[in-house]
């Protein structure tokens, strides 16, 4: 099952399980969505639950927020994560704060097809998670595997808070794996050690996990074992998992596809230096995209994005330090 099919399957299962789950988005009905995540959904669940909306993210997120307040469990699709900015006010000022002011939960999910690597240019390749990482009241998840993708979309639908679900477009069809048939969720707030190691910790998520795992294999041949901590949930951060791993290894590398400055890696670096300083045997390093919009030209995009080679170079520096 591909990463994309896993998301689709998770949504379908939740819709069958709970009739209050509805979908909203642009062209998600008859057309099946820009990436076909909701293909066949309108046939199975009807127009009442798979709602084609206007081209307006403020309207989609606003309507989803209202539906959630009224007791539904809406899942809103952003056609591309970049477009979420049009609904920013709804998300950060209404969805995120509503429970704090009114004690009424807002159980909604916003799906954000994110990320670059497919020559989509500056308006179709963004990783916008850091904009929302700063917003109390939201939860952020970013799966790296088909298993986590399915388990997290199901957990997101069941969660009583607004959950932003960052699904990476490059992983959609590049990843395939066996997934158990039975009903399972991946708990929100729990990181996963994707590979164990003793010398260096890589804290990462989404595409970063795959660069880190490939680089870790190469490092092992050079005699250095690398532990890969896949955050899976970005907010709330699984601080214990990060700190436990860094306390074990003494060296930390943070990898994300989002741009470097003010990214999630900055917060993780601060966390480590505040709470594991005495355990550090090297400076904390970060590998991330460059601080520019995502370039359109393939050669420039390749230069801009992190990759296994860049992660490997950072790991070698840490190993030699």
């Amino acid at each position: 099952m591909t990463y994309l099919e896993a998301i689709s399957e998770g949504l379908r299962e939740e819709m069958r399980r709970d009739t209050s789950v509805i979908l909203l988005g642009e062209d998600i009905g008859t057309y099946g969505g820009a990436f076909k995540v909701t293909k066949g959904f309108i046939e199975e669940f009807g127009e009442g639950r798979v709602i084609d909306t206007v081209l307006g993210e403020a309207a989609i997120i606003g309507a989803a927020t209202g539906a959630a307040i009224a007791g539904m469990r809406p899942v809103a699709e952003m056609q591309f994560a970049d477009f979420v900015t049009n609904g920013f006010n709804q998300l950060v000022n209404v969805s995120a704060k509503y429970y704090y002011r009114n004690f009424i939960p807002v159980p909604m999910v916003v799906r954000l097809p994110s990320g670059g690597g497919m020559h989509g240019g500056p308006f179709h390749s963004t990783n916008p998670e850091a904009w929302f990482f700063h917003v109390p009241g939201l939860k952020l998840v970013a799966p790296s595997t088909p298993y986590d993708a399915k388990g997290l979309i199901k957990a997101a639908v069941r969660d009583p808070n607004p959950v932003l679900y960052f699904e990476h477009k490059y992983l959609y069809r590049h990843l395939k794996s066996e997934i158990p048939d039975e009903d399972f969720i991946v708990p929100i707030g729990k990181a996963d050690i994707k590979r164990e190691g003793n010398e260096i910790t890589v804290v990462t998520y989404s595409t970063g996990v795959h660069w880190a795992l490939d680089a870790a294999v190469a490092m092992e041949k050079e005699g250095v074992t690398v532990e890969v901590v896949d955050l899976r949930t970005l907010l709330p951060l699984d601080k214990e998992a990060i700190l436990n791993s860094v306390k074990k290894t003494g060296k930390a590398l943070i990898v994300h596809e989002d741009t470097l400055t003010g990214g999630i890696g900055a917060e993780i670096a601060a966390l480590i230096s505040e709470r594991a300083f005495q355990h550090l045997d090297a400076p904390i390093k970060r590998v991330a995209s460059m601080d520019t919009p995502v370039p359109y030209a393939p050669t420039l995009e390749k230069y801009f994005l992190p990759n296994t080679e860049k992660v490997l170079m950072a790991l070698r520096e840490l190993a030699a330090y």
């Binding site: 003494g250 300083f277 005495q278 550090l280 045997d281 030699a320 330090y321």
Partner: protein
Amino acid sequence: MFMAKIEVVMPQLGESLTEGTIVKWHKKPGDKVRRDETLLEISTDKVDSEIPSPVSGVVTRLLFDEQKTVAVRTVIAEIETEGSETVLASAPPEAPSVSPPAIKPFTFTRPPSPPRVPAPPSGRFYSPLVLNIAREGGISMPELEQIPGSGEGGRVSKKDILAYVEARKKGAPTPGAAPSVAPAAASTIPSAPRIEAGLRHIDSGELTKKYPPPQYEILQMSNLLQKMSEHMVRSVHTSPHVQAVHECDMSKVDAIRRNHADGFEKREGFKLTFMPFICDAAVKALQQFPLVNSSIEGDKIILKKFVGLGIAVASENGLIVPVIKNAEEKNFVGLARTVNDLATRTRSKRLLPTDIEGGTFTVTNYGVFGTMVGIPIINQPQVAILGIGVVKKRPVVINASEGGAIAIRSIAYLTLSFDHRIVDGALGGSFLATIVKHLENFDENQIV
């Protein structure tokens, strides 16, 4: 007459305001002022406002000139009051211009700094982790300076210092380990009493001091003991334990065991004990009462569709509970062989990790130590455990319905400890009675 001095402070007129400018004083020192009469006008980023006097009295001091900008809560004037006015002064709760008498002006005192690690004379960089390991390992700065570093620019890495500490523990010669290299306390890392103890000059008088022979010995608990300790405490905290004790006439089982002793041993290569009989009875009872073969997770009961029968075995290292997997699929001989195999491998330390996993119910046979009645602790996350007391000849009343007679029978006391969160006395008692009934009416044909 009671006099009091009231301090008037710069009020905070908006939650984000930090200062205000005095525009005009309406009173000068020596003037009388009534409560709520305008004392001054102030101007802030947000509003201009007249500030009323909080009390009636005489203005004694104005601390700032007009047009001066002052931080909120700064004292700007003093008013002398008479008599009961002091009470009034603090009465209006919305009067922000009265300084609450309990709050004293803040003076910041710097907390004492933690003792600093002396800078290494060489200027070589040590990471927090390396300094930490050095401190914990009792390595002084001069000693640390001697350790060769394999990191960037000759830095001592985590690996280097750990290897050094390890070598030092084993007594291998290490550079700079001799106390004479680091005699001065000042050159050791502070806040590490162990280092100082190690380097302290020993008075020769101490060497002749007589100590009484030790009255106790300190042993390190083995891993197994630590695990057992943690598990037993957790079990008692988790499950409300309730016990039922039944008397069981083992005469028939004993007779069967004797009848088949030689043939069985010749055929199977090991002795026929009571254990397979009890296991057999337990498995059959568990199938009849599946709730006893379960575990609890939150508000859910997990019913197991298989029986993993744990057998408590005492080994020289401690208590181990290997598991007969899928015990419900085994006949009597199969159970006997598995019990024998697990017990043998436990004692010879050849158990695999998988041998101790997957238990759903446990049997413990403390009767072998002569114990008559035991009260076992549940093996979590199971919900019940069966304890077997010693099988002993006793005078008992038999054929009670026909007037009764006293006979010598082989009797054992069986104890069931169960988790009263889900197993009540009715279920526990019925379950145990079923085991007893099965043992007292054991079908000899099962043996062959």
